[in-house]
C-alpha cells in the first residue's frame, strides 16, 4: 500500500466546521474540535494573542463502555500538528475542567497524546484551584519558537494575574 494512502487511512476523515473540524469514529461517535482566540497578558510587553483548542465527543451509545480509540487520538494529534505547521510559530492553550472529578485523568491522557507530537514541542502546565473553580491548563509551544520564553512567561503571568494569591 502506498505510504500516503496508509498515512491517510490511519486518520478519520475530517470535515471543516465553524472554527474547527468534525469527524466520526467507527462506532459513529461524533468529535467536534474547535479553536477559539485567547489573549495572554505579559508583565512588561504587549499582550500575546494565541489560540485555545478544545473538543467534544457526542457518543452514539453513552451508556456503553467507551473503548479507547487510537485512531481518534491520531486524528486529534494531526489537527493540532496541522495547526502548528500552518500557524507560523504560535502556541496552543488547552484546559481540562474538573466538574466531573476526572480532570486529572483527562490531563494525563492528553499529556500522552501531546507526546505524539514528537520532538520539537514543549508543554507547560498549571493547575488552578479556587473555592469554585478547579482546572488544569496547558500551553503547547514549539521549541524553536523565538517567542517561546515570552509565551511561557505570559502563560504563567496570566494565570497569576487572574487568580491572585489571597
Amino acid at each position: 500500500m502506498p505510504l500516503q494512502i496508509f498515512v491517510l487511512s490511519s486518520l478519520y476523515s475530517l470535515s471543516p466546521s465553524k472554527g474547527g473540524y468534525i469527524f466520526t469514529n467507527t462506532a459513529g461517535d461524533g468529535y467536534y474540535t474547535y479553536f477559539t482566540p485567547f489573549t495572554l497578558q505579559a508583565k512588561d510587553t504587549a499582550p500575546i494573542e494565541t489560540v485555545s483548542f478544545g473538543f467534544e465527543c457526542k457518543r452514539v451509545n453513552p451508556d456503553k463502555r467507551q473503548v479507547y480509540d487510537d485512531k481518534a487520538k491520531r486524528t486529534i494529534v494531526h489537527i493540532i500538528k496541522n495547526y502548528f505547521d500552518k500557524s507560523n510559530g504560535n502556541a496552543l492553550l488547552y484546559i481540562c475542567l474538573n466538574s466531573d472529578g476526572k480532570a486529572r485523568h483527562r490531563n494525563i491522557i492528553f499529556g500522552k497524546w501531546f507526546k505524539e507530537l514528537g520532538q520539537g514541542y514543549e508543554r507547560h502546565k498549571s493547575k488552578v484551584e479556587t473555592e469554585n473553580l478547579d482546572f488544569f491548563s496547558s500551553i503547547l509551544v514549539k521549541v524553536d519558537n523565538p517567542k517561546k520564553k515570552s509565551i511561557i512567561n505570559a502563560f504563567h503571568f496570566t494565570i497569576d494575574y487572574w487568580f491572585p494569591q489571597e
Binding site: 465553524k18 474547527g20 474547535y34 479553536f35 467534544e56 514541542y121 507547560h124 484551584e129 473555592e131 487572574w162
Partner: protein
C-alpha cells in the same frame, strides 16, 4: 519525547472574574459541550468567537 514542565499548582487563590479570559474560556467550553450533547449546531453559538481552521 516532548518536553513538559511540572505543573504550577495554584491553590486557594482568589478569582478576578470581570474580564477573566479563563472564565470566559470555561464558560464557552461548557456552552459548546451542552450544544454538542443536545445535538445543536455549534454555529448557533453566536456569542462565542471561533478561529477558522488553518
Amino acid at each position: 519525547m516532548m518536553q513538559t514542565s511540572k505543573p504550577r499548582k495554584v491553590k486557594n487563590r482568589q478569582v478576578q472574574s470581570e474580564g477573566n479570559p479563563f472564565i470566559k474560556l470555561i464558560e464557552d467550553k461548557i456552552k459548546i459541550s451542552e450544544a454538542v450533547q443536545e445535538g445543536k449546531p455549534i454555529n448557533a453559538l453566536t456569542d462565542i468567537r471561533f478561529v477558522k481552521p488553518v
